[in-house]
């Protein structure tokens, strides 16, 4: 991605999963890292358990707030059922970041609450942002400040831990 001026990320999932929250944190981190950034989302009807997605674009100058179809460099999907219907956004050679990276085969998101990782069914969206951060080189304090800004104080520490867990995760399939 050396010559590309704009980095395009699409975050997708189901209403109530924290898709918009994750996108807010990502956009804020890009902003704090000094980039021009745009983030776009659709909410309303989508709050009621339906498919939700949010586009984040950053670079030296960003025009359209929407990622053009098939031009996402990264597609981050928070629910296993939502991968197939969002793949059309990913460019050829783009990177898919999905719950498959943090879940054991056959287990569901709730299993995160019982295992011994810092990830839970509520903060795994921030955990996946950590995985994304392996590819996107923002200063770590930009990420941390963005997490603090967009989450209530009492969950700051556990979300920062979830983020760091994702960032340090060794990915077999990466």
């Amino acid at each position: 991605m050396s010559n590309r001026k704009i980095t395009n990320i699409v975050i997708a999932g189901l209403g109530g999963q924290g898709v918009i929250r994750a996108a807010n944190i990502l956009a804020e981190a890009a902003f704090l890292a000094g980039y021009d950034v745009k983030q776009s989302e659709i909410h309303g009807m989508s709050q009621r358990g339906g498919s939700v997605s949010s586009d984040v674009r950053f670079g030296t100058q960003v025009h359209s707030p929407m990622v053009p179809i098939g031009e996402a460099d990264y597609l981050m999907v928070l629910h296993p059922t939502q991968v197939d219907n969002n793949l059309y956004m990913l460019r050829e050679g783009g990177t898919l970041i999905s719950t498959r990276m943090i879940l054991e085969e056959g287990k569901d998101l709730e299993s995160l609450d019982a295992d011994n990782t810092p990830l839970t069914s509520r903060n795994f969206n921030v955990g996946l942002l950590g995985v994304l951060a392996q590819h996107i080189q923002f200063p770590e304090d930009a990420w941390i400040a963005a997490i603090r800004k967009h989450l209530p104080e009492k969950v700051h520490e556990q979300n920062i831990q979830a983020f760091m867990y994702g960032k340090n995760l060794t990915l077999a399939c990466a």
């Binding site: 009807m45 025009h63 179809i69």
Partner: protein, 538 residues
Amino acid sequence: MLQESRQLLNGNEAVALAALHAGVCLGTGYPGTPSTEILENFSLLGGKAQWAPNEKVAYEVGLGVAFGGGRALVTMKHVGVNVAADPLFTSAYTGVRGGFVFISADDPGMASSQNEQDNRRYARAAGVLMLEPADAQEAYEYTMRAYEISEAWRLPVMIRMTTRVCHSKSVVRPSGVAIKPPEPAHFVRDFASLVMVPAFARPAHRRLREKLARAEEWNEQSGLNRKIMKSEDLGIITSGVSFHHVCEAAPEASILKLGMTYPLPMQTIKKFIASVKRCVVIEEGDPYLVEAIRYEGGAVEGKPDMYRFGELNVSRVRRILNGDTSPEPVPPRGKPPQLCQGCPHRMTFAVMKKYDCIVSGDIGCYTLSVLPPFETMDSCVCMGASVTVGLGLRHALPPEEAKRVVSVIGDSTFVHSGLTGIAEMVYNPPPTGHVVVILDNGTTAMTGMQEHPGTGRTLDHQPTNKLSFERVLEAMGVPNVTVTDSPPAFEDALKAALERNELSMIIMRRTCRLAEPKIQLYEKAAAKCEQQNNSQNG
């Protein structure tokens, strides 16, 4: 004093910040996606903001503020302007003294609406000035400018936004200079301007047309329209968020980006057209600009009709410029939204399905009952239409069908536009009577849990007077009113009402599961506050 120099805001937050910097005296509106967060943010920033029962009320309250010389901000979604259209048209005649700015938040593509009307046509039809920001920075700048423009022309200004302007975040650099209203609010008697009897309205209409002619001339130099000259081969005229799609889709094109789109700067437009070999208008929604420019003799290309539907984006702009009318790729379908699992009103629909009701529905979460597994909504048109369309069905259908008609309306929607329908029902009862169910979940759930007059709390969740539905219905003369929170009692009440041939209303009162924890916090805070007051007074 004006906060940090660089902020990441969405369009709604930017409008709220500008309203604060412009010294807005009162913000009012009715919640509606994608406009809702403007007033919520204005309130959080310390501005005085309140929810009105509906958009007409909000518009009129705002107008009163402006008549008194204060600056008013009124917010609504596109279909809300239909509700406020009555005062809108005549407010162009009366004009205003304090700055009056209203936001029309349009929803091309209908992410969360029942139609995709293009409200730019309203500005032209009513004769009010219109600004169209393209992003959050412009949402901030234009809102600030709008107050100056409104006061200079003594006219309402409509800021026309769309979902992608309201709900897109981008970097905003506030001006750093607050603008103050020229003088504090006070009343100036002015019958000829403010009392629209025909004798005063006739000259007022002439005054309006003359003002608009001058405003058009002024707009040629307003600084709100930007010309970016590059290629002579291709020029694009555009406005709103489409500008950004254009910049990306055709980086070599010359662009005339219109910021004030009523009245249009026709001389600027004609000069631009003459300066390029090919001129294309790229606009989302209706051919508003194309029609206006062609009417004045401007030779421009528009977009093929297929692009009138839905939002524009970079790919679609490329296709328009290439004259590509081949079928567009259809993105895979996602999971549709649904009534929440655990929503206490799901059973209400199960019961109505059991009795094979013909359900005249309304606008809210419960509209989702049209989807499986319920499929229990037979019509949905606009706010409040459940009651009145239900009455029409009762009047027209044969008795055995008429008796199955039930109107279903939510609590916020009932206050918005249901009350006049109840007056109609009591005044002109159908021969088989009628049954109206209010699904009272104690919040305006669909738009994100806003307060309304029936919750007894203000926009910022502080206690205020509470509208009692049952007492209102009793006072209006509805003979049978049942209030319940129990599913079996609801079924009994519905069964009895369907058999009765009288007017019956059932208030099914069960709190929204998503709002419940928040409501408990508000109630706890209010109780604590009252306790403190009592101990101080005692």
